[in-house]
């Protein structure tokens, strides 16, 4: 396999990039000064070396704990649970939420063999059990799987004596939190309901 095919093949594995685009990007890089490609390669390596999940919440960070977990002004009594780290960015941009986060690392998806044990449910339970948390907001996506995951969390957490709430269904069904606008997210958060 040639070096061109090699890179195009790797690029084509990225979401939203087809085989044609992958080839176009590859030839584009070849037309640029070699420095450009070296910088890209370096940036990719540094990314993987430095960025990892926050030891507390699972957010992506270059430190042992992420900036949100370290921020003394955040409200430590409320944890907002999301499917992916990318969802945190969407909620932060809405600027409404001042508590902490918990990244599940996906959602319950039996067709892909993803059960609760593959998510960070136990870690979330441990955080709640450690005390000081009065509410867990479940902000999984409003898909069938997101709703089922929310219900599973509610049933696991309610035993620990914490209030569990669900963001309002302001988001379009099947729509991803990641792509919702700030106003919609702020509204979904403020209109959250306790899960019973």
């Amino acid at each position: 396999m040639s070096a061109i095919d090699d890179l195009a093949g790797e690029l084509a594995k990225l979401p939203g990039i087809g085989r044609k685009t992958a080839l176009r990007l590859t030839y584009h890089l070849l037309k640029q000064p070699p420095e450009r490609s070296r910088k890209l390669a370096h940036a990719l390596e540094v990314l993987r070396d430095r960025v990892h999940p926050c030891g507390v919440c699972g957010n992506l960070t270059e430190d042992p704990e992420c900036a949100i977990c370290r921020d003394p002004r955040r409200d430590r009594t409320v944890i907002c649970t999301v499917e992916e780290a990318a969802d945190i960015g969407a909620i932060e941009r809405a600027g409404e939420f001042r508590g902490l986060y918990h990244v599940l690392g996906g959602r319950i998806s039996p067709l892909d063999g993803v059960g609760p044990e593959h998510l960070t449910v136990r870690e979330l339970e441990a955080r709640v059990s450690a005390g000081g948390v009065s509410e867990v907001i479940v902000a999984t996506n409003p898909s069938v799987e997101g709703e089922a995951t929310a219900l599973y969390l509610q049933q696991s957490l309610v035993r620990l004596g914490v209030r569990v709430s669900r963001i309002a269904r302001g988001l379009p069904v099947g729509g991803d939190l990641e792509y919702a606008d700030g106003g919609t997210i702020a509204q979904a958060l403020s209109a959250r309901r306790e899960m019973i």
């Binding site: 319950i108 059960g115 069938v144 219900l151 049933q155 069904v173």
Partner: protein
């Protein structure tokens, strides 16, 4: 779906759905066809295997967004080609124009309605409403409960966005609960993992039941009338059979009842590896003189009921969409005697007043009621006379 209070055939004034231009490219055996369609419709003749059903299938794709013979999209692409394309302009449908593209290697179809890309398939479902009448319809009567559920689901989804959305969520939750029942039955929290899908199942399942019951209540009488008009002397009856003994409650009551049944049967479901309660177990019981038409009906009686169900399908679409759907008649008189054919023809003329496409093997066999229609011939996938 709003209540269907009365049958309005013979009183509706709205213009029928009418396809004006059709473009077909690399679909089945049709390389390329660009045709203008007369408002009244067309008689399309051609020997079996030359593609007349493929033309009807292409037209019906503007309704069902999939093959009418249940094959995968990729298999509809003409041999040796990369993709098929369909384009329609129409009046009386939900859209004025609809374009469809399916690539052999693509994971999903591309739809463009009125010039705008459609991202959710459901938004374009039944955009250009049509009903197919064919001898294969006998599976509605003689086939499995699944065949009849499919009929109900396609019909009700085409008339009610609420039904379509409930159906999609119900199916999504059901396959996931069943996957848990099958693969996780030994997990310590298997019951909890199964339970999380039940609220979605109960909520959407109740919607499906309520709408199915409402439709059956109305359609049973109309279907019986059509059967009688076709000369069937035995009394026709139709009712919905379900895993729940009683479906007479309100949707809210059905919701509670299904939630209860799912919870009650959860352990048993785990042992069997399947969900035993819910609308996915329904059957539409079709009876003549109190006996199951599936087992006791003659071939002719089964054909009569199947045709009646298609006419009721057209009536339902008209009722909810305000326009007569296009009728796609795929050699509907094959193997029927003259008397029955004549009666059917009279019924089609009376109850299905939309644009008609009649596909038959030879154009010297055009039935009298269709004599005025423009004639096309199809040979080796090429349409002539258009």
């Amino acid at each position: 779906m709003t209540a269907v209070s009365q049958e309005t055939s013979g009183t509706t004034q709205a213009l029928p759905v009418c396809v004006q231009q059709v473009t077909i490219r690399d679909f089945r055996n049709i390389e390329r066809a660009e045709v203008e369609v007369p408002a009244a419709g067309v008689v399309l003749s051609g020997l079996n295997g030359h593609g007349k059903t493929n033309v009807l299938e292409a037209l019906h794709y503007g309704h069902a967004l999939r093959s009418l013979r249940g094959v995968r999209d990729q298999e509809l692409v003409r041999f040796g080609q990369e993709a098929f394309h369909l384009a329609f302009t129409a009046t009386g449908g939900a859209v004025d124009s609809l374009g469809i593209g399916v690539a052999r290697t693509g994971r999903r179809k591309r739809l463009v309605s009125d010039g705008v890309e459609v991202t959710r398939l459901g938004d374009a479902f039944a955009a250009i409403p049509s009903v197919v009448v064919s001898p294969r319809d006998v599976v509605l009567v003689a086939g499995t409960p699944q065949d009849r559920r499919r009929y109900l689901d396609l019909l009700l989804a085409a008339t009610s966005r609420r039904y379509l959305s409930a159906l999609q969520r119900y199916r999504a939750a059901l396959v996931r609960r069943n996957a848990v029942l099958r693969d996780q039955s030994r997990a310590a929290d298997a019951a909890a993992q199964a339970a999380v899908w039940e609220p979605a199942l109960a909520e959407t399942g109740a919607t499906l039941w309520a709408e199915r019951v409402r439709w059956v209540d109305w359609a049973a009488r109309v279907t019986a009338d059509r059967c009688a008009e076709m000369g069937e002397p035995q009394r026709f009856a139709m009712r919905l059979q379900s895993s729940m003994r009683d479906l007479t409650g309100t949707e809210a009551e059905l919701h509670i009842a299904l939630a209860g049944a799912l919870e009650r049967e959860r352990q048993s479901d785990l042992r069997r590896g399947m969900t035993q309660h819910g609308p996915h177990r329904d059957d539409l019981l079709l009876m003549l003189a109190g006996k199951m038409a599936r087992s006791f009906g003659s071939g002719g009686q089964q054909r009569t009921i199947a045709l009646a169900l298609r006419l009721v399908e057209a009536a339902t679409l008209r009722e909810h969409r305000g326009h007569d759907p296009i009728l796609l008649l795929d050699d509907p008189f094959a193997e029927l005697d003259r008397e029955r054919s004549a009666r059917i023809l009279a019924l089609v003329a009376q109850h299905g007043r939309g644009q008609r496409f009649l596909a038959i093997p030879r154009d010297d066999e055009v039935p009298s009621g269709f004599g005025d229609l423009t004639r096309w011939r199809i040979e080796g996938g090429v349409i002539r006379g258009a």
